[in-house]
């Protein structure tokens, strides 16, 4: 049984007489202990999707099952108790500005009716987990963005949830801080076994920490699967765009723009071999490298290249075959490069 099961979820908003379909027929299963990324362009419906997981948004159609329990069968009170098992962090941190760090962390415990003394002890443990022991008495206005998100993470963990929802949790942070927050999330996932759902529009966030990913495009599930596989060979347009399109800011000369382009991804074993050099020596034909990049995908180095193949189609086919034989993922590339 999956920990989170989203079944045929449709969400329609009524805004001033207009109906807006935010999500249509989305089904996903998220396993216990996973770090699951949900990625999409802004307005794709991913934030609505994550809010249905703790029923902050009620589905128009379809159902959400947490550990096999359909959330629609719960009363308001039962739902509130269920939400203690689902922590959530946000892009804007959403800390109580008038409470200091420790009181913020104690807050969900206070809501749950935990004794103040116990809550304090738990909060201090959590401060250690997020590395903010010296900020106990500080107020949110005195903290940096990264520190605020750490407090928010500690707060979300206070009630010992089995699921942590992250809604664009790193979008307001600089790249370095993003890295440290992602590391913290990964650490929490490994040590506590907590299932983490990450909503983001940044592919780098997904490739860095997620094991599985779902791509949401225009309210629909475009593609889902292991991050490795989807990074190597994205099949939907939305996935291709997210993986390659948006992050290229390099335009090759028109003369280099040949008819056929391919995108190759180096896996671990092939990343150390001079595959391209060998290929050129073998076929005695030059190829143009339009783009090359390396990325950290789930802690493993992944190389990515866009090649312009020679005009000769037979040679091109042979090159593709050769690359595949050498353990590289190869796919035709349609973009502007």
């Amino acid at each position: 049984m999956s920990e989170i099961e989203i079944k045929n979820l449709t969400k329609i908003f009524e805004i001033k007489g207009h109906t807006v379909t935010a999500l249509s027929d989305v089904s996903l299963s998220i396993e216990k202990g996973d770090i699951f990324g949900i990625i999409g362009m802004s307005g794709a419906g991913k934030s609505t999707l994550v809010r249905t997981v703790n029923y902050l948004e009620k589905p128009t159609q379809g159902s959400i099952l947490i550990d096999g329990i359909n959330l629609s069968t719960l009363s308001e009170k039962e739902l509130r108790i269920k939400r203690r098992e689902i922590g959530m962090i946000f892009q804007n941190f959403n800390l109580l500005e008038q409470k200091n760090v420790i009181d913020n962390i104690c807050f969900p415990l206070e809501i749950a009716g935990t004794k103040r003394k116990e809550a304090r002890i738990r909060a201090k443990e959590l401060l250690k987990t997020v590395n903010l022991e010296d900020k106990e008495k500080a107020f949110p206005s005195q903290l940096s963005g990264g520190q605020k998100q750490r407090v928010a993470i500690a707060r979300a963990l206070a009630t010992n949830p089995s699921i942590l929802l992250c809604d664009e949790a790193t979008s307001a942070l600089d790249p370095q801080t993003t890295d440290s927050i992602l590391k913290l999330l990964k650490e929490i996932n490994e040590t506590l076994g907590i299932t983490i759902v990450i909503i983001t529009h940044q592919m780098s966030v997904v490739t860095e920490v997620c094991k599985h990913v779902a791509i949401i495009d225009n309210g629909k599930l475009a593609e889902e699967g292991e991050v490795d596989k989807i990074f190597e060979s994205p099949s939907s347009d939305a996935a291709k765009e997210l993986i390659t399109g948006s992050e290229i800011n390099y335009t090759p000369l028109k003369s280099l723009d040949t008819k056929r382009k391919i995108r190759i991804v180096f896996k671990e074993n092939s990343a150390y071999e001079p595959v391209i050099s060998n290929m050129i020596l073998k076929f005695k034909t030059p190829v143009n490298i339009l783009k090359a990049d390396t990325r950290n995908v789930g802690g493993k180095a992944r190389g990515e290249m866009i090649l312009a193949l020679p005009e000769d189609e037979a040679v091109s086919e042979e090159i593709i075959l050769y690359l595949k034989e050498n353990g590289l993922a190869v796919a035709d590339y349609e973009g502007e490069a």
Partner: protein, 220 residues
């Protein structure tokens, strides 16, 4: 001119003025604060939207607030008599002051609560907070600075209105100013009472601003 009798009267006036102002603010908040919370909660974007309840509250607030205080003071004489037993004196003045202040306070409270970041409320909901917990543990706490500033403004307003009630025998400094300054042409006594009103107003306003800053943790 300023014999012990007049000084005694002025001191009594200060006491009555403070009694009316603070008393009506306090009772006004007992009515206005829950009403303001009710308006916030039942608003279309509130925790529990309810068009009918919001509509009624909204209507009552607007009706009372659109009646000039002096008219309200006279309109309410039978009601005041019913509650206090008489329609003159400082205790009697508190009744119309409260009726005038409560809807005003409700609006001030509503707008203070509206300033609370929707994200924080969403976070509380995600933690499993009930609406009552959100009101008492999130909204009132996060809005406390703004609520305090609102209370200061309200107190200042009621100080002015309490003086106005002097025209119909309300007691306090306003009463002295009207009786001596207007009816007896004793301008000096009137000036003294006006200066005293200004001083009291300044004290209330500055104390309020100081306290509001003191309890605010948002900017340090």
């Amino acid at each position: 001119m300023f014999d012990s009798k007049v000084i005694g009267m002025i001191i009594e006036g200060i006491r009555d003025t403070l009694y009316m102002t603070l008393g009506s603010t306090l009772v006004g908040y007992l009515l206005g604060l829950p009403l303001g919370i009710l308006l916030y909660v039942t608003n279309s974007k509130g925790l529990k939207p309810n068009k009918i309840i919001y509509g009624i509250g909204d209507f009552i607030c607007n009706i009372i607030r659109s009646i000039p205080f002096l008219i309200l003071l006279i309109l309410l004489i039978p009601f005041t008599r019913l509650i206090v037993g008489k329609s003159y004196g400082s205790t009697a003045t508190i009744v119309p002051l409260v009726i005038c202040a409560a809807p005003y306070i409700a609006r001030v409270v509503e707008s203070s609560l509206n300033e609370v970041d929707a994200g924080v409320i969403e976070a509380a909901k995600a933690m499993g907070a009930s609406n009552l917990q959100i009101i008492f543990k999130v909204l009132l706490v996060e809005a406390k600075t703004s609520l305090f500033t609102g209370a200061t403004i309200t107190t200042g307003l009621l100080l002015g209105y309490s003086a106005m009630s002097g025209t119909v025998g309300g007691g306090g400094l306003g009463d002295i100013a009207v009786r001596y300054g207007y009816y007896r042409w004793q301008t000096d006594i009137m000036i003294v009472t006006v200066i005293l009103l200004i001083v009291i107003f300044q004290i209330i306003q500055n104390l309020g601003t100081f306290m509001a800053k003191k309890i605010d943790h948002r900017k340090k």
